[in-house]
Amino acid sequence: MTVGTLALLAAAVSTAVFPAVAGATPSGSVSLVAYSTPKPAYAALIKAFNATSAGKNVTFSQSFGASGSQATAVANGLPADVVNFSLAPDMNKLVKAGIVSAKWSATPTKGMVTNSIVSFVVRPGNPKHITNWASLVKSGVSVITPNPFSSGSAKWNLMAAYGAQLALGKTKAQATTYLTQLLKHTAAQPSSASNALQTFLSGEGDVLLDYEDDALYAKSKGEAVSIVTPPQTILIQNPIAVPTKASNPAAAKAFVAYLLSPAGQRVWGKQGYRPVLPKVASQFKFPTPKKLFTIDSLGGWTKVNTIFFTPSTGVVAKIEQGLGVSTSSS
């Protein structure tokens, strides 16, 4: 055994025995569990993080999938050092399971790592002249939005539609009527946001309701789509956290710190996400809707989920039942 191998062995033993001494460079593997849309963004972010002094020794195992499924998987034991979901209720599932601290949202960015908005994706040149929410329910317009009971993205879409009506001065009853009309114009309700995009790209529908970042990504990949920013829309906020049971908390925290740093936020911005740091966000030219509202202005996710999205009894479930009954009897 040469001196060199001995030194290597000693180094290996010391890192194994004393992982991440305070102040030392974090190392080891971080398992990232996230919802499906930011997959390409994370490829760029991990590369950029590995190029920093804090991230040079960190490796990643990554898992992407439907936000709700990912949260359920972690709640049932999937190891995770960093979790990133499409909406806060999925994070709260992990709070309930005792995996994420109840104070996850007590950070300068309120626990969020990225913002986005609900946008309209239309055919090139916008042949159906889709400009606002009213144009989605004109005769001859068909809409694609995922199924709200299986997709977090669909919940954002429908709350954007509902909140937009309130922003236009309509009553809650009128906003619910609008949701009914919108769902009546829905040609397909695919099970997830990515399935919805595939469905739209296969030629179905005139308008796809989608995350702005997802639409920008599709466009950057050369898909023939135009993006219309609705005059009134919802600010999508995507939460991130390091579980209390993370096996490599030092590296995980360093990575999340990078994601929330100006440098990391610039990478997010280049990937189509609206940065959560106002200073970084102002460096990008994201379109500004006339009225941008948050889920909190509609009562917050817990309330909204119960009122609108409880299967069979929620407002949206009742609308679907009404539509289902009326079409099956006609």
Binding site: A66, G68, S69, T72, K93, N147, F149, S150, S151, T186, A187, A188, Q189, P190, S191, N195, Q198, T199, S202, G203, E204, F309, T310, P311, S312, A317, E320, Q321, L323, G324, V325, T327, S328
Partner: protein
């Protein structure tokens, strides 16, 4: 070309069945090792998960179970799924017979390639299958056949994923069918339709039924290939597996389990029913 010798797995009239697991072990151990292993394996993979499913479905009592399966969405999705699966199982039983017939009785260039292709629906990830079907039979169909967002689309997707069952269950039986009996019947003046009805069909009916049963059971639970082409519209084109997925995503796991139990029970009843029907043909276990 003579058919390959039939593999005899039946009980021999004289003496016990030679147990392949008994070799090198004491007889008494060997006799139990095989069944024990099979039962353990089956329990771990099938019985325990199913038991867990049933217990999950009934955690809050029968009332809650009934509420979950009698919800209008659940009823609509179950009805659609069962009817579509029944249509597909029936249709594929006939289509599978025709394909198996061609593969066994006819010789043509590329037969081996066609034969190998039959199993591909098994290998293809179902979401990819769904995407492929959508691009071929969706709004941008090169054949101008648009079945997206319709019940026909669901049937097409299910027919695609279940075809291997229908072909592969009939094919070996058809290959072993004694052709001399057909010739004898024909020489005695039976018309070809009589030969088909009285000689061939009774021979392969159990296999066809078995294939149809498997196809039905598979179709009932199919998800990936269907959700894209169906449009997944509640009450119109939403299949049971998709409704179950929605329930699981909405944190209603016992309701999801309850609807799944209905699917499993129906599939079980169909498989048992087919087993009984096959016994009525009274020609033993030919598959």
């Amino acid at each position: 070309m003579s058919p390959p010798p039939a593999v005899d797995l039946g009980v021999r009239p004289d003496g016990p069945i030679p147990n392949p697991f008994a070799h090198g072990l004491r007889r008494s151990v060997g006799r139990w090792a095989g069944p024990g292993l099979a039962v353990t394996y089956l329990s771990l993979l099938v019985v325990l998960p199913l038991a867990a499913l049933v217990s999950k479905a009934f955690t809050s009592g029968f009332g809650v179970f009934w509420q979950a399966v009698s919800q209008p969405e659940a009823v609509a999705a179950l009805k659609l799924t069962l009817i579509a699966s029944l249509i597909v199982a029936t249709f594929n039983a006939l289509a599978g017979l025709v394909i198996a017939w061609v593969l066994v009785r006819d010789d043509f260039r590329g037969k081996q390639a066609v034969n190998a292709m039959i199993d591909l629906p098994f290998a293809l990830p179902t979401v990819v299958a769904g995407l492929t079907l959508l691009s071929l039979y969706g709004p941008d169909s090169i054949f101008h056949l648009n079945v997206a967002d319709t019940k026909i689309g669901i049937v097409v997707a299910l027919a695609f994923v279940t075809l291997p069952f229908s072909v592969r269950s009939v094919q070996p039986v058809l290959a072993e069918l004694d052709r001399e009996v057909e010739e004898a019947a024909a020489s005695l003046g039976a018309s070809s339709s009589v030969v088909l009805r009285r000689v061939i069909l009774p021979g392969i009916a159990p296999a066809m039924l078995a294939g149809a049963g498997l196809a039905f059971a598979r179709a009932v639970g199919e998800f990936g290939s269907v959700v894209l082409i169906s449009g997944n519209l509640p009450f119109k084109t939403e299949v049971a597996s998709s409704w179950i997925y929605s329930l699981s995503q909405s944190d209603q796991l016992s309701a999801a389990a309850a609807v799944s139990v209905v699917l499993v029970v129906v599939a079980l009843l169909v498989l048992v029913g087919i087993g009984l029907l096959r016994r009525r043909f009274d020609i033993g276990e030919s598959v």
